[in-house]
Symmetry: C2
Subunit: 723 residues, 2 copies
């Protein structure tokens, strides 16, 4: 079940979290290794360094002072106002502390303590939620490492910064972060620390990290909203395991993504088991496909593992998204030129030929002896091992100034003697001058390689140690698109069909299904339903041959699989023959004879239009290749329903086999705009009529301007339990 | 054109290259930055360090001494025998030096000099080849950085080891390599240096690097043979741009791969343009598909970029290939457990459930309080942030000792306090004890992360900084398979069909095509060819309805595309109607009327069997999904023809849509062994009959034990020029 949560609209003032005037730490103790103590020490250290401006108050009823500093028995004993309280005490005691904090008018609490719903303590979870509701305090957690904001010095990350090795040496375990423009929202403490640690190596700073924990109150959506409005944040990175309210999440994603790039690593791709699948759609579209559809809808960039997360965040932290996909590749290593242009195509980028005018300008450089006569002027451009730093600069200047390309991959390998380190300043300067969307790739682990990468990073040009990683980053820079609407606001359910209310739970009758589709402008071929052999003679007056005959049965979902469909019937005698065959089949299966459907045959490309109900996001829409190959091809795209015309066009463009829509064999090309209209209309059905839990047209036969729902099946369920 | 080169069999004694007793360097000069000087300095340095045992003689007719050391005016002036000569002088002078070296009985020459065929100097290339032929000397190069052997100290890599930065600091540009078990054969100097540089960071040593240059004499194949017999070599890595003689290469690959893993990065995937494609096969199967087929045939592991090359070579350098694909994942970070098991499945590995017995043994650890009660015993196994180093050890011991899994991915993230560095020794010890195929993944760039990775590497357990990379390596360890034959020896062409000689160049007539197929045991449906309307009445006596009618024309390759095929004809009157329609179509196209083909209709899965001629490898065989979706799906596999039954089975297993062979809709499952026999037979046709340059059955309709060549087209060309 899903609801559009009302509290999504509730105002949250997170300035008390990120910039509190005072902080209380509940759970400070004599043992410096206790989590409360570690957090208190870190906050006071940040205060002594001048980073943290807030007052910090230690709280513990059993301790009166610590190293000469007064420890408060409770929050209420603190005379001054407290904006933020950090709680690191056993779970049982937490709800009372929340109530106390509420009385003290504390604005925000970070509950570090674990031991609630995540270990099955639903009772404690309930008590905590009640305390929050009663007091109106805003809460992060419980069960979290909390928040790290290097600007304000608010930092509850209690995992060790240094650890001892067996030989007694102390080694850094978690480096300090520097302030920067990457905001991280994470459902895992460990992974957020890995991301910040890896970004640091590239000199990328952090706006803030928030680990949301169990999200009893403040959630991913709240922080999405905060960071999307926050001027210090350029890019938002999310490690996501799952959300409860898909619509609210989609809304928050789309709103944030309209303002700045959002990058998501989604774990937990395994299927929700046990869903009854009456259609191909329901059996193919699992949880991850729905999430992925939502990400596309919201303009989110999805990454697949940690390294890709780091690489892509790095690119967005330093570069602006690209307008287009035309890539220019410049190197002095022929092998890299070939490998990178092959990979670029695979990553969806274009490596167009060099336009004549640029080519001529580059040929000039040969006269000036800046590049060797043997160099072939093309894209990718290999200056060979003789290519100098100056040649790199001049070539890049000419190409960049033309504005023909959208993206640049620069690979000045340092090994040949002709490359010196001036190449770094030269290329950075031109990148800035022409505001290029550019990355550098420098392979190798020598001092030089590391130096080159580090310097480029410092100068704001993201560097990568491998072409695949460089191209992944470039490709991501081209996939960010602002969602068309500032926010995702599905139209209200105005179009509900009244007569559906009278139908019973179960498979949807063919007649009703056709009626339903026609209500949404979807056509079916001319059809007769015949239950008695005597009626067969009426067919030729009503339909034109050739026709198709199908078993009509509420008990059989996939008729083709059991030979229940006979195609290409051209005469009356064939009609009679087909009737006998199908009736025999049904009776042999021990089923009741409900008759046959006879349809005029339709020629065209077989597509699938489906809708299924996702427990997190509600109604979804699926468009893909249909017909007998549906499951074998699994070529489809998914969105949260309903969608508009433009989103439907996007779905069409995602098909791997889109080519077959563009004039396949002797068929005319499918009118893609008409098709998008049909998809958009179809997507409204399950949104406007919630009792339709699964619906699938397969095949939808498309040819030119005509779209025919040749077969349709649907499942009605008025119970919210049967998904 | 391809030939099985006779010189592939010529004995090469490369001990004079890798372990010479004496080396002459031609091109040593007063300028220490000249390539000859750099190489001479490096060799004498290696000699002074005691690494190089050989005598080293500088040669230059214009210099009499250098820092007090005698410089020889020519090789012939050196009194002692010379095993190896390194030549770094202008290209024009090289052929004469080769002749001189030949007279001096020098065994091997490394020609560093460029300026031959690679810049269009075919004349000099010819002179050089003549000199080599006349003298019998073996040559590496020209146009190469030569050879680096850290065991013997033979090292001609002249690129700078150190370079100066603008601020005057000296930084290492190319680290020295240590002796190890990885042999590298490369068609690019720069890329070979990057590989050795990156391997060094992981502590991986090099057996030797050979950059083959223009390969006027010694070639990739010679070094493949050498390293495959070399006891110091455990794994062979090749950077490949292309070969001239595909069969010789395949043979060398298969022979080497039967002895040890061969890993190839192939660049140059762009298409050979301008080939006339009369079949889908010829239009789909480009150069890279053929190379990829050859790699599979030879059991080679293909990688796609430099980082993957390094990661996979590292795994094979430290681990033995795996027997199976069953992976166990152990970590203390829940997010990583989920991400890695999702990716593992995508990389073709299996993440099976934990067997009950192991589960019970692991539950015991809860009683011993080694693992937390809340830990869910499953695969992947997340010990949570409370998991200790000891818990990692005990769990790993229990799982490894069971022998149930083939592969292990260990991810003891260091961030939680409960992990100390004893985890390194503990896990390494068990890996050795149970001889596990294992990799470690440790994310992060802190001192601890680096230390953990470095230590595991030192202890022989390959470590990776990212799950995707760890899984790429594990997956590669499972893909190495020894080719079944020790060497790839195609059967002689014994079965040539005589009557083909009498046919003219051009499209193969249908009748002949059917006759050809039947010779190889491939059946076609009952067929009539009819050129006159008057003959139509004979059909019903000879064929059973329903039938198919197709235009017969030597001028139309893809009949379906122009509506030239009418399916499902069930009566005589439909037959007459179809005939009229098709004849009208042909005449309207302005073509000569050659009649129609009438065939009994066949039901089944539509496959494709094709053969096309590759300029490098000769005849190839393609198997895939056929019918109208052939080009849209592009689901096919390729091999160098001919192939045997087992190789054909491998091809079938490679199909992405293999599922449709296993009982699709109302069709019986296809007999895969029978199918493999048919593929193997088909693959012999173009091998045994070279005048058939393209041949394609599409569709081959398969159902149970029956395979019907429903349509076939072929191209005859006796000219070697028309490929």
């Amino acid at each position: 079940m899903f609801v559009i949560s009302e509290d999504a609209e509730k105002m949250v003032d997170l300035k008390y979290l990120f910039n509190p005037a005072s902080i209380a730490v509940v759970g400070v103790s004599h043992n410096p290794l206790k989590i409360g103590s570690i957090i208190y020490q870190r906050l006071t250290k940040n205060k002594s360094l001048g980073i943290l401006k807030a007052e910090v108050y230690p709280v513990n009823p059993k301790v009166s002072s610590l190293n000469g500093i007064k420890v408060y028995p409770s929050i209420s004993e603190i005379q001054d106002d407290v904006d933020l309280v950090v709680i690191a005490i056993p779970a049982e005691a937490v709800p009372d502390v929340i109530r106390e904090a509420g009385e003290k008018k504390v604005k925000v609490a970070i509950i570090i303590s674990g031991g609630f719903a995540e270990i099955g303590r639903i009772d404690l979870d309930g008590k905590l939620r009640e305390a929050i509701k009663d007091t109106g305090i805003r809460v992060i957690g419980p069960n979290t490492i909390g928040v790290l904001d290097p600007y304000s010095g608010v930092d509850t990350f209690f995992l060790p910064r240094f650890k001892m090795l067996s030989d007694g040496r102390i080694a850094e375990s978690l480096p300090d972060v520097t302030p920067g423009n990457v905001a991280i929202i994470s459902q895992s403490g460990a992974l957020s620390e890995i991301i910040m640690d890896c970004l640091k190596v590239s000199g990328i700073g952090i706006r803030a990290i928030v680990c949301v924990g169990n999200q009893v109150d403040l959630s991913i959506e709240d922080f999405l909203k905060y960071f999307s409005d926050d001027p210090l944040t350029k890019v938002i990175a999310i490690y996501l395991e799952g959300v409860k309210d898909g619509r609210r999440f989609l809304n928050a994603l789309a709103e944030a993504s309209a303002k700045k790039p959002v990058i998501i690593l989604k774990a937990g791709k395994t299927e929700v088991a046990g869903r009854a699948a009456y259609t191909h759609t329901a059996s193919m579209v699992g949880s991850i496909e729905v999430y992925r559809g939502a990400f596309k809808q919201a303009g989110v960039i999805e990454v697949e593992d940690m390294e890709e997360m780091i690489d892509v965040v790095k690119a967005f932290s330093m570069m602006n998204p690209s307008r287009g996909k035309k890539l220019f590749i410049l190197t002095n290593a022929g092998g890299l030129a070939v490998i990178s242009s092959d990979l670029a195509l695979r990553y969806g980028l274009l490596v167009p030929s060099m336009p004549e005018e640029i080519k001529n300008n580059l040929e000039e450089l040969k006269n000036r002896r800046l590049i060797e006569p043997m160099v072939v002027i093309q894209n990718p451009l290999d200056l060979t091992a003789q290519g100098t730093s100056e040649a790199f600069e001049e070539v890049y200047r000419i190409v960049a100034s033309s504005g023909f390309f959208d993206l640049y991959l620069l690979m000045p390998s340092h090994q040949p003697p002709s490359i010196d380190d001036t190449v770094i300043d030269r290329l950075s300067r031109i990148s800035r001058e022409y505001d290029c969307c550019v990355v550098v790739c420098e392979h190798g682990e020598s001092e030089w390689s590391r130096y080159i990468r580090e310097k480029f990073d410092q100068l704001g040009i993201p560097s990568y140690p491998d072409v695949r990683r460089a191209l992944t980053a470039l490709s991501a820079l081209t996939t960010y698109r602002k969602p068309r609407d500032k926010s995702y606001q599905p139209p209200r359910r105005t179009n509900k069909i009244k007569w559906l209310d009278s139908l019973e739970n179960g498979l949807l009758d063919y007649d009703y299904a056709i009626k339903l589709l026609s209500h949404y402008g979807l056509e079916a071929p001319k059809t007769l339903k015949i239950t008695d052999e005597g009626e067969l003679h009426t067919v030729s007056g009503k339909l034109s041959f050739p026709v198709v005959m199908k078993i009509f049965s509420r008990r059989i979902a996939h008729k083709t699989d059991i030979g229940g469909v006979i195609l290409g019937i051209k005469t009356h005698s064939e009609l009679a023959e087909a009737y006998k065959v199908l009736k025999k089949k049904v009776l042999e299966m021990g089923l009741e004879w409900e008759g046959v459907i006879i349809q005029e045959m339709v020629k065209g490309v077989e597509l699938l239009l489906g809708s299924s109900y996702d427990p997190v996001f509600g109604p979804t829409v699926t468009f893909g290749i249909g017909g007998v190959l549906t499951e074998a091809l699994r070529d489809f795209s998914v969105r949260i329903a309903p969608i508009d015309f433009t989103e439907a066009l996007e779905m069409i463009n995602e098909l791997k086999m889109k080519k077959i829509l563009e004039g396949f064999r002797d068929l005319p090309p499918v009118n893609l705009e008409k098709l998008a209209e049909k998809i958009s209309e179809f997507s409204k059905i399950t949104w406007e009529n919630p009792s339709i839990r699964q619906l699938e047209i397969n095949p939808l036969i498309a040819s030119g301007d005509r779209f025919m729902a040749v077969d349709v099946r649907g499942l009605i369920s008025k119970s919210q339990l049967l998904s």
